[in-house]
Amino acid sequence: MKTDAHFFSAYRRPQSRLASAADCYQVSQFLFAEADLLDSWLFDEWLQLLSPDIRYWSPARENRLMKDLEKEVSPAGGSAHFEENFEMLRQRVARIDTNKAWAETPPSRSRHLISNIRVFHDAAGRADIYEADCCFQVYRSSGERSQDSVFGRRIDIVQRDPGEHGFKLLERTVVFDMATILVKNLSLIY
């Protein structure tokens, strides 16, 4: 097997880039605070965590032969669940605010669990930028009996920011651990 065939192999980083315990703590707290905003339906405040140049991307996956492992995750410009800039994310938030986004009206109850966090210094050596890797589970209950949950891995790029939360999100890649999405929709932010 080619050692670099899998999508995630591009995200193996040398231990030398591992950020300090203090940096890791601060970035982790930022990600937990973000999850709290999403689960508390404070979407307007959540938008303030985003860089105006944010790139929010979630490639789709397929069942592939082992020899085609590098195609298991769609490349940039291919199949994706999300491929958003700031304005597009703002539209998703504004849609919920219309009270006519039936997927989330009445609102669902979500819980973002963030784990396996590793924080690395930026590959280009920029002092205030970190790469934060994590795994997530997003549980959702809606209506009377509907419940589902999605798992995945997230690769975030964050930059220190003088604002309240200490960081801004520059880039997010969300890779769901599913080929066929086995839930009725992806109506939340992940």
Binding site: N63, H81, F82, E83, Q91, G143, R145
Partner: protein, 455 residues
């Protein structure tokens, strides 16, 4: 198999009444797999998904897995994706390219044409005659302008006859520009509802758009600095509010709906390109087909939208369906338009799409309510635009009604569904349909309206 109550007892298309049992009943569902899916033409691949010899994709016809394979001679054949030894799923990748297919259970090996070419320990343990008739089960296929359809029933009418007048409408989606279509994105997801909810909608329900998807129209269209919609965007909202257009329905259950100025577009790049090329399309297809793409469904489960999503809705039990959706762009479109189509569709009509998300919840609740005895006993009303049909009217072939918001095509879809579910063999059904259409055509008044009061 005999049903306790025949499906026809739940479907009264004359009065536009359908009972919820057809979406809920397990017995009916099992019979659909046999009488609908194993007898209908179902979309299984597009030729661009199979670029070279040995290219394959997996798909489904009903719950049966299908392997679609590009042959040595360039032709495309389709097989049941099941090893004929002990029934194992033969190929387990969604797509790829291979020389042959080896079963991961006992190693039986089939070539691209479905012929058994190797059985481990075969010579020592099997008599030759016990293997002589083993090959993959093959289905009928047809290639219509690059779209590959399969059918298990040897007695089913050929694809052209099955499509009938639908071809005129289908072409306005897939044959607008020279060079055909190509796939620019794929999405698969599941929904907790019956497959017919996603069949009847593109067949016959443009009506839901304004209410179900209002939030997306409110936020996705760009505004001027004063907060009002940009002029081109304002036009898109007016299309829904004015809602002029028509609907086609077919004796074979197909349907299509259109707005007479085109379906609303949410992306400016796509809007400009459609506008820029409308003269070219008019020249190729005729003036009245420029605006046909709205929504359409080739019965049972091949749906398309003017936004260029093409999908099959696989049944997964009476209470679940699985959508396989391909975003397609005309090969002739410039790269920025192809990319705009790809991004527009993932933001509108995918599992994360801002229009699709809301359909999911409406269908989920519709399905959940049908668990109730009283809810199932209730007649659901499919009565919109009754008695307004006419034939070959104003250049639109076949049976049409004079409004885009209509349940005529749903009534005709369920009439065909009821025909199929009766179990009558295809030759009988073909005859029945020909007689029915002839009767309706003769009943048409001088202006081709079925109802004389409308003429």
């Amino acid at each position: 198999m005999t049903l306790t109550n025949p499906v026809s007892s739940y479907i009264d298309t004359q009065r536009g009444l359908i009972r919820g049992e057809i979406f809920h009943d397990r017995e009916i569902y099992e019979l659909e797999l046999e009488r609908v899916f194993a007898r209908s033409w179902v979309f299984i691949a597009h030729e661009t998904m199979l670029p070279t010899t040995g290219s394959f994709i997996q798909n489904y016809v009903g719950e049966d897995p299908i392997l679609v394979v590009r042959q040595q001679d360039g032709s495309i054949r389709a097989f049941l994706n099941q090893c004929q030894h002990r029934g194992m799923r033969l190929c387990r990748a969604d797509l790829g390219q291979t020389k042959n297919f080896m079963c991961s259970f006992h190693g039986w090996n089939y070539n691209l044409a479905g012929k058994l070419i190797n059985v481990p320990h075969g010579e020592a343990t099997f008599a030759p005659e016990d293997l002589a008739d083993v090959k993959l089960r093959e289905m009928r296929v047809t290639n219509y302008k690059g779209f590959i359809f399969g059918n298990w029933d040897e007695n089913a009418p050929n694809f052209e006859e099955y499509m009938g007048d639908f071809a005129w409408y289908f072409d306005s989606y897939i044959d607008r520009y020279p060079g055909g279509m190509e796939v620019v994105g794929t999405h698969k997801w599941v929904l907790p509802c019956n497959w017919k909810f996603n069949a009847e909608q593109p067949t016959s329900d443009m009506y839901h758009g304004e209410t179900s998807h209002m939030s997306a129209f409110e936020v996705m269209l760009p505004r001027k600095p004063d907060g009002r919609l940009q002029d081109w965007a304002e036009q898109q909202v007016e299309i829904l509010a004015d809602a002029k257009g028509g609907q086609f329905s077919s004796p074979y259950g197909h349907g299509a709906g259109w707005f007479d100025v085109g379906v609303p577009v949410l992306d400016k790049t796509i809007f400009d390109w459609k506008k820029r090329t409308s003269g070219e399309v008019a020249k190729r297809l005729g003036e009245n087909r420029v605006y046909i793409p709205g929504h359409a469904n080739l019965f049972p489960n091949f749906m398309m939208l003017g936004a260029n999503t093409f999908r099959v809705t696989h049944p997964r039990g009476p209470n679940e369906m699985e959508i396989w959706s391909w975003s397609m762009a005309p090969v002739a479109a410039p790269p920025e338009v192809k990319d705009a189509i790809r991004v527009d569709l993932l933001r509108t009509f995918s599992g994360a799409g801002m229009l699709e998300q809301d359909d999911a919840v409406n269908w989920e609740e519709e399905q959940a309510v049908l668990r109730g005895f009283m809810a199932r006993s209730e007649h659901l009303k499919y009565r919109q635009l009754m008695n307004k049909a006419r034939y070959d009217h104003n250049g639109y072939p076949g049976k049409t009604v004079p409004h885009v918001y209509s349940e005529q095509a749903a009534r005709d879809m369920y009439l065909h569904y009821s025909d199929l579910m009766s179990g009558a063999p295809w030759p009988e059904l073909v005859k029945l349909k020909a007689e029915r259409v002839e009767q309706e055509r003769q009943a048409c008044g001088k202006n081709n309206f079925l109802n004389p009061a409308e003429a």
